[in-house]
Amino acid sequence: MGYRISVDTGGTFTDMVVLSEDGEFHVGKALTTPDRISEGMFNALEVVAETFETTPKDMLAATDLLIYGTTRATNAIVTKQTARTAFLTTTGFRDILVFKEGGKHGPHDYSYDYPQPYIPRRRTFEINERIGASGEIVRPLDEAQAREVIETLKARKFEAIAVSLLWSIANNTHEAKLGELIEEIMPDVPYTLSHRIAPILREYRRASATAIDASLKPLMQAHLTGMQRDLRAAGFAGDLLVSTSVGGCQEVETLVERPINTLKSGPAMAPVAGRAYSALERMGGDVIVCDAGGTTFDVGLVRDNQLVYSRDSWLGPQWTGDIIGASTVDVRSVGAGGGSIAWVDPGGLLQVGPQSAGSAPGPACYGAGGTEPTVTDAALVLGYIDPEYFNGGRLTLDPSAAEKVIAALAKTLGKEVDETAHSILIIANELMIKAIGEITVNDGLNPRESVIVAGGGAAGFNIMPIAHELGCATVILPQTASALSACGMQYSSIVFEATRSRFTDTNGFDRAGVNAALDEIEADLMQFRDSLGTAKDATVTIEFFVEARYRAQVWELDTNLPKPRLKTDADVDELIETFHLTHERVYAVRDEGSPVECVNWKGRISIRPFDPPPSPEPSDAHSTPTPNASRSCFFGGSDRVDTPVFRGANMVIGDEVKGPAIIEEPTTTIVVYPDMSARLSAAGNYILDCR
């Protein structure tokens, strides 16, 4: 076997992980080149190629598989470079995208404007038709009027069209007809129909998914096929897959038809990595996955070895942004990181964030003009960072600048400098503790019974006290932590979901109707599999889910179907019991007396076109490494402590370090706090004992 490469192109950095024939990961990082993504990719490849003493070209030629993750779609939306898209909807409901779903941040905050809709009202067109809640045609489609509208779109040179009609999930004939008319009148213009991209109840969610998808089509088609071309031109002859928001990957041909699935694909891969690492270390199936970057802290979950999904994923802030509508791996993000600024509020309490110095000017110690004390400045003052070896020595920090800004803050607080820096870290930890608390509580996961997998360049500074506060005994911090998402891709599968909306409740359960919906879903999944190239014959798993709720509840819970079809009443009973258990886990109550309403049905197919990286045998070795240096650090209390510093490169499997200690890896630093310890596992992960 040749190389397997995964690439995660972020806003700032392009992370690359190369799996070599000996089963080892090699990480390369380069600045992202937004104008031509492949350039940044080749730069990162060059970094890795150096370690193999070969050229990027030769490496590419020897690569069997490349998995590409991109933020291109997200960036296009943020920078408003998506296609000029028309939105077609049922007459009387042109404001679906304006109204969104309500909700506002801060009951007393009137300092910000109401958000603009994803597609402006002036590009919204009403179609005379109406379908009712049970699929009945209330008003037939006025074909003449529809033609007129599409002719107008043609005259106004729209580049993409989104069609989302009320109740198209119950009866798709009107949408399908509009699709035909678009193909007839505007044959070269891409379009998206809501019942195909997101056949789910709730008109705003469906409309938003449809609008976003259509608006991305021209751009992502060009981008993905262009990337394919660039790679081929560079001598790459292997398979190309693209990572998606469900924590899986897809062939380019599939994704150009559903570009919405590339959104948030980077963060979605971190839980995939977390699941793999926990399995590798035999730590169980409940995992909290934290990815700490310079400006955000992302948290995702793995429960019972399963990724956790959400339909409540937004571009931009919840409620005021645009909902993605399609199911995505549930990853929550809080604005907290090395760049978060510390300040004192008018009541005299220390606060950290939400303002951030970002990467430019960045923390004061970057020496690039930052004048506010940040978390990174605090970590530097505390001795946790070697100013000469930050980010593998690529950036030299200025300790005196950090000292100066922290001292100024200390003066305001009437505290010592060390104590102030330490307080900044404690408060920053709180933001992350809360973020983890919310997502675990939301999904009924107990941190005390889970393991944390931590990644991102900034995780090592404070993940141990965070885990300790949460009552979580163990943290796995991979040596490749800084490229967690790219690592996740190495363990991913081709994943595809199909959905049908078929409402029924357990008082008069429509078994035939539900089974028919499940048949349709399965047919979609099989058709998808058959459309694949080389992956067609790989191992397949299929799971079914229903989004269900108690009678009259508004929000559904994802419930696994115990069996692929509901053939008998006993099967239905089993499903009801599964729902009660899910409800009890999440909300602490069950209501035996209530009928259960089933709303959307979902099938997910996972295809393993390639084997995960080999998993080394665990090692029982225990050894004590010799420190490379020592530094004076502060961990609270009254005095600084002389703290041994270890270089990760010099550590061997089984090496165990007792805190206080610092372990330095080229792209991450791990602070082992007093009374805690760290051990290097056979798989190349640091196992942090945080009890």
Binding site: G92, E101, G103, H108, D109, R202, G348, I426, V589
Partner: protein, 599 residues
């Protein structure tokens, strides 16, 4: 025993405050997601908070501003009524508007939390129930002459659980009187479940930090909050503000509505705000009387609208707010047996508007305009028989269309505002979800062009909805207080348009309904409701042309209104997006309008 005096590390105070905030957020999330009726799960008409064992409001969630004040009175009553007989495993239900609660529709669940045998906290969830056994199928009864005609079951601090088990007598009483009792019971489980979750978390919290530290924390957190409040008030000018407003008429009872007055004295030297609510009409024989809890919350919430956004809202901050109430008044001083059925809305909505716009008297940059008010047809309580399967009764409040929000000095009005006491926090119902749940069809739901109150910052436009039944007649109870007195602008801002309701059978002859209406919509008929729009802030002629062009392109305002009110002239077309501001013509037009105004 004297309290041990400890001084806590300020970092620990932050950490502990953060943990409590996490607990209240968990309560909120649990209740929101597991509740049954749309009034809770969509309209978010509920709130969760933690009160100390000594009945001081400690930590509220980001809940409805109209619930912020009063829970501490309810917990105090609970302790008084059950003196010496409160223990772990108890839970209490209170909805008495004469005992600190907002109005009878708000069922308040209180769980006393014990640690080492001491009552440390009370966890409180307050939920607006879809039905409470009133004599009409609505938990809002504007025309209720007194509490007897209103008909609500009232629970003054009643114990509903002992040893974590329901008092089944009370469950049966509720099931015997409340419409769609399973829905009520589902919301009961959600409300109580949320308070029980808080109990578990608070016990762990006390375990972790120890009793003395927790007590010291509470003390210091209140002191900190008070310091924040003092600091904020010191930055306000010294002023006495008086503002009045008028509620809508009530056919046959209050032909002119009610004139309402709020007086506010800001004393930056002492760091206090004094509110005088005494100059208001006596109680009325209708459900419009406001409880102490509602009226105070409405005013407190509106004052917070004028202060820093991140102020803690708790007993410590409230120490700096001082209220004077009348003996017998429609505002905050109900006398028995007057009804407070719509205490949280109608008059309270006006109190929010009067208070927040009073602050604009302090000058540009301060206060807000008035927000759109009134629970119109899109927020009606609908009820009837659902014949789509086995016949089944239904009752629920809609949250399909909402009023437009007020403008501030810096931002335009919020579209999804609902009413001033909800302040944009609610979720909208999905049309599809409502059509699935109830035998209703929505014909249309849109923004109303040219309805917004113009200003340098504009109010949010109104919305209009049309709906009717699909299988059998439906009753809609509409308790709207927003169809006569328009939401006013401030500092030169113009008012938003008022709401209107029609019953339509023949499209050519819509029948206008009064603002408060209880209407049966028969098959073939529809109700059409228009909500009101927010008032503007500042002079519309000062509105940046780049904002006006977006309004016009988006169809929120017309070219005519742009010309007549904003003084902005365009070239090009809207349709092909070639519209551009004609700078010279605009300047001339604005000059002309200013001169006409001066003359």
């Amino acid at each position: 025993m004297a309290e041990p005096e400890t001084t806590l590390d300020p970092v620990l105070i932050s950490v502990m405050a953060n943990r409590l905030d996490g607990i209240v957020r968990e309560m909120t999330n649990t209740l929101l997601r597991s509740a049954r009726s749309a009034v809770i799960s969509s309209a978010r008409d509920f709130s969760c908070c933690l009160v100390t064992g000594n009945d001081e409001l400690l930590a509220p969630a980001e809940g409805l501003p109209v619930h912020i004040f009063g829970c501490h009175i309810q917990t105090a009553n609970m302790r008084e009524y059950h003196k010496g007989d409160i223990q772990r495993g108890d839970a209490y239900l209170d909805n008495d508007p004469y005992g600190g609660n907002t109005h009878p529709a708000d069922h308040t669940f209180m769980v006393p939390v014990f640690f080492e045998g001491e009552h440390m906290f009370t966890a409180v969830s307050k939920c607006h129930m879809a039905d409470i056994g009133n004599s009409i199928p609505s938990s809002y009864f504007v025309r209720a002459r007194d509490v007897y005609e209103e008909g609500a079951l009232v629970f003054p601090g009643v114990r509903i659980q002992r040893d974590f088990k329901n008092n089944e007598d009370i469950m049966r009483m509720c099931r015997a009187r409340i419409r769609v009792p399973d829905q009520w019971y589902g919301d009961y489980l959600a409300g109580l479940g949320s308070a029980r979750i808080a109990e578990r978390r608070l016990e762990a919290f006390c375990e972790k930090y120890g009793k003395d530290t927790v007590k010291a924390f509470m003390r210091e957190w209140f002191d900190y909050s008070e310091r924040r409040m003092i600091d904020n008030i010191r930055r306000l000018p010294k002023a006495s503000l008086v503002n009045t407003g008028r509620s809508d008429p009530l056919e046959g009872i209050l032909p002119d509505g009610l004139e309402l007055t709020v007086k506010i004295d800001i004393d930056p030297d002492e760091g206090n705000i004094h509110v005088d609510l005494r100059d208001n009409p006596p109680c009325v024989d209708a459900g419009l009387n406001t409880s102490l809890g509602s009226a105070t919350s409405a005013v407190v919430g509106a004052i917070f609208n004028a202060l820093d956004k991140d102020l803690p809202r708790n007993e410590g901050a409230f120490r700096r707010l001082h209220f004077q109430y009348a003996e017998d008044s429609v505002v905050a001083a109900p006398t028995f047996p007057h009804s407070c059925s719509v205490s949280t809305t109608n008059v309270s909505e006006r109190l929010v508007n009067i208070t927040q716009s009073a602050f604009a008297q302090l000058g540009d940059g301060m206060g807000l305009s008035e927000g759109g008010a009134g629970l119109g047809a899109g927020m009606a309580v609908i009820s009837g028989q659902d014949l789509r399967r086995e016949p089944e009764p239904y009752v629920n409040r809609l949250m399909l269309s909402t009023n437009g929000g007020p403008a501030s000095a810096v931002a335009d009005g919020w579209v999804n505002y609902a009413i001033p006491v909800i302040a944009g926090l609610m979720y909208r119902d999905s049309v599809e979800v409502d059509e699935l749940k109830h035998p209703i069809r929505v014909e249309s739901l849109t923004l109303v062009t040219d309805s917004a109150g113009a200003g340098r910052r504009r109010g949010a436009p109104a919305q209009q909805i049309e709906y009717g039944p699909t299988h059998a007649p439906m009753m809609a109870v509409i308790s709207c207080d927003g169809q006569h007195s328009q939401p006013r602008g401030v500092l030169g801002g113009l008012p938003g348009t008022s709401g209107e309701t029609w019953l339509i059978e023949d499209e050519t002859q819509p029948v206008r309904l009064p603002n408060v209406a209880q209407v049966t919509i028969n098959m073939g008929q529809r109700v059409r409701g228009r909500d009101s729009a927010g008032g503007g802030y500042g002079d519309p002629l000062d509105r940046e042309t780049e904002r006006v062009i977006v309004d016009v392109l988006e169809g929120w305002e017309t070219l005519e209104k742009a010309k007549d009110i904003y003084g902005v002239i365009f070239t090009g077309e809207i349709d092909d997006e070639s519209l551009e501001v004609d700078e010279a013509a605009t300047e001339a037009r604005r000059k002309e309008l200013r001169e006409a105004r001066a003359a």
